[in-house]
């Protein structure tokens, strides 16, 4: 039997908007993935630590507060410290186009902006991840 893709959906920083994170988490679960949600107000360290403990293939970060430029790369850094370079990091939120290239250069492979469909996100993850 094929292994399930394991995903951590995380809310770094202080943003309380979790509608998007919760809807995406549920859509991924309905698509057959195993999904863990951190809840609100997580530090980059605690997210990386959870990713390590839970042995996930994907970390999905959500922030709508404009703090993505600081927080998303900080999570990537913390993950590197723990040897998690091969985990796919993606993000979502209110992120202007001009920030997206910066985030990619810093290891956030894809940003889903408002209006992205659940199907797009599922298909992207399935195309990028081969569960071990």
């Amino acid at each position: 039997m094929k292994n399930k893709i394991r995903v951590l959906i995380a809310k770094p920083g202080l943003d309380g908007h979790d509608r998007g994170a919760l809807v995406v988490a549920r859509a991924l679960r309905d698509a057959g993935m195993e999904v863990i949600y951190t809840g609100l107000r997580q530090s980059p360290e605690s997210i990386a630590e959870t990713a390590l403990q839970e042995d996930v293939h994907v970390v999905g970060l959500s922030s709508l507060s404009g703090a993505h430029g600081h927080l998303f790369p900080a999570v990537v850094q913390e993950m590197k410290k723990r040897g998690l370079e091969d985990v796919l990091v993606i993000g979502g939120g209110v992120v202007p186009q001009e920030d997206i290239d910066d985030l990619r250069a810093q290891g956030v492979r894809r940003i889903f902006t408002p209006g992205s469909s659940m199907r797009q996100i599922v298909e992207y993850i399935e195309s990028e991840v081969e569960p071990s």
Binding site: G13, L14, D18, R19, V23, G39, G69
Partner: protein, 560 residues
């Protein structure tokens, strides 16, 4: 609106005749575009409403007259014929200086009230140099650490001449203390201060996420504000019980009304349990709703909320003062309905939503800016948003008569349906022990999440159409003229804090913080102690830190 039996028989037979001879003929030639029509909240919509749909609605008991129980048609007897709603644009970013400039600009452009957006560290009680504040300082609102920042925020804005709304919840009492301290510094008598503090902690646990303390001490802080204001700030709205964020989190219109009023019931009960007289505090309760994109449903929602609250206050809480029965509310157009794609379309969405709020009888209004699915608004977008409601107020004529949609068969029927469905929810919440218990059990969160997911599925199946997103899609260049918060601003805010900690009398600060701590452990009203503490330069983070030690911190249980 009952009609007599003969009239009713004539109507039924006329309707049947129309269906047989006109409608069915047309339907045989052209079918309708879908089998079932529903509102965005999933309420069924009939083809045509006529007097039979409102037979149960009694004009005098259920609709009545504006300024009179049950206030279905509005809370004031003359509504916008007297004066238009307050135009209150939610604004704030970066530091107090930048935000002060934006406020003065908006006032110079004809805005009639202020509304302060605080950044997230402020909203969760951290100073700007706290480790958890990294990346968040000045992002979604203005960074406030001490009374000095508040002083700069209102520089050259006389606090006895404007009313100010502050979107602050968990640390609401501290920000109120700072506002009072700045008023005193400006030489303004606190008794003359008009405005609103959001102070609605319950919806933070359920939908918005900026809680700090557990529910019990949080409710005590809420009622401390009620009690303090009834003594010292008689013109101040002590709470803004908010459905806005519940709706943004994905609820339906019915859930928005139900969960908001259920929270309202919990606050009234908490205040009465503290021995406050309902008719002293209830007239200062205010509300805050979302104006979403399903136009007629929204108009009916506002009317239903008003009628239901009047009945709850009069019948359930036995309030005697008519002002206690009145649901006065602020409205903001729906941020979640805005799209990053074809962002100019948002101007049109906002205009419809603003019209719904006005036809629903709002007391004040924020119109969103076109770029809000991308960033905080630029000055130009904020001005266009303000102009949108100014055109509505001054040019369209919808202000000339009161509740112009009242009496529409559909609007009256929908008003009744929303009221009944919301009441049924409130009864379920009562059955769980009230709103705080329903939130603790995760009931309200689950109901909201369920609706959010259902809506998203409908968008993906294209049962709900969103222009520019799942239909009428175009290729476009991403917009470039977005507001950027100056990244050096955080360092400046840190330097200001360091300066403050050096310059102030630190012994006095310590003594005041100890008094706050002692008061938190007693039954005393905390606010006078907070006013003393902020006056000697204690920071928001220090005061909340003391309260964190006494009260503990709330940990939400994660439900997926």
């Amino acid at each position: 609106m009952p009609c007599d039996r003969t009239g009713s028989r004539r109507l039924s037979s006329a309707r049947r005749q129309w269906e047989d001879e006109v409608l069915n003929k047309a339907l045989r030639r052209f079918s309708e575009s879908r089998e079932q029509f529903r509102t965005i909240s999933d309420l069924p919509v009939d083809r045509l409403y006529d007097p039979t749909h409102v037979e149960q609605v009694d004009y005098v008991d259920d609709i009545g007259f504006p300024g009179q129980y049950p206030f279905t048609r509005g809370v004031q007897p003359t509504m916008y014929r007297g004066r238009p709603w307050t135009m209150r644009q939610y604004a704030g970013f970066a530091s107090a200086e930048e935000s002060n400039q934006r406020y003065r600009y908006l006032l110079s452009q004809g805005q009639t009230g202020l509304s302060v957006a605080f950044d997230l560290p402020t909203q969760v009680g951290y100073d700007s140099d706290h480790p958890m504040a990294q990346g968040e300082v000045g992002r979604v609102g203005v960074a406030i650490d001490s009374v000095d920042d508040v002083s700069v925020l209102f520089n050259e804005i006389p606090l006895d001449k404007v009313t100010t709304s502050m979107t602050i919840n968990a640390p609401a009492a501290v920000l109120l203390a700072m506002y009072v301290a700045v008023a005193e510094k400006q030489g303004v008598d606190p008794a003359k201060l008009g405005g609103t503090i959001q102070n609605d902690i319950l919806k933070e646990y359920a939908a918005r996420g900026t809680y700090i303390f557990p529910p019990h001490p949080s409710m005590r802080l809420v009622t401390d504000v009620f009690a303090y204001c009834s003594e010292n700030l008689p013109l101040w709205n002590t709470i803004s019980i908010s459905g806005y964020h519940i709706r943004e989190a994905g609820s339906t219109a019915v859930q928005e009304v139900a969960f908001t009023l259920a929270n309202g019931i919990a606050y009234v009960q908490a205040a009465m349990e503290r021995g406050l007289d309902v008719d002293r505090f209830a007239p200062r309760l205010s509300f805050f709703f979302n104006s979403h994109i399903d136009f007629l449903e929204e108009v009916a929602k506002f009317r239903a909320a008003r009628r239901l609250w009047a009945r709850i206050m009069r019948e359930r809480f036995k309030a005697k003062n008519p002002r206690s029965w009145m649901l006065r509310f602020h409205t903001q157009t729906a941020g979640s309905s805005l799209t990053a794609q074809q962002a100019d379309n948002n101007v049109v969405r906002v205009a419809y939503q603003a019209l719904a709020a006005v036809l629903g009888g709002t007391q004040s209004l924020h119109t969103n800016s076109r770029d809000e699915a991308l960033a905080l608004p630029t000055e130009a977008s904020a001005r266009l948003a303000l102009r949108t409601q100014q055109v509505l107020a001054h040019e369209t004529g919808v202000t000339h008569t009161i509740d112009p949609l009242g009496g529409s068969y559909y609007i009256e029927r929908l008003t009744t349906d929303i009221e009944e469905a919301a009441l049924a929810y409130i009864e379920r919440i009562d059955g769980l022990g009230g709103a705080p218990q329903a939130i603790e059990k995760g009931f309200i969160q689950r109901e909201i999440q369920e609706s959010a997911y259902r809506y998203q599925q409908k968008v993906e199946r294209e049962e709900e159409k969103v222009v520019g997103v799942n239909c009428l899609v175009t290729e476009e260049e991403p917009p470039t003229d977005l507001l950027r918060v100056d990244p050096k601003m955080t360092a400046r805010q840190h330097a200001r804090l360091e300066q403050l900690r050096k310059a102030r009398d630190n012994d006095a600060v310590m003594r005041c913080l100890e008094s706050v701590s002692a008061a938190a452990q007693s039954e005393d009203n905390l606010i006078p102690y907070m006013v003393d503490a902020v006056t000697v330069g204690a920071t928001l983070g220090e005061i909340c830190g003391v309260l964190r030690e006494v009260f503990g911190e709330y940990q939400s249980q994660v439900t997926l």
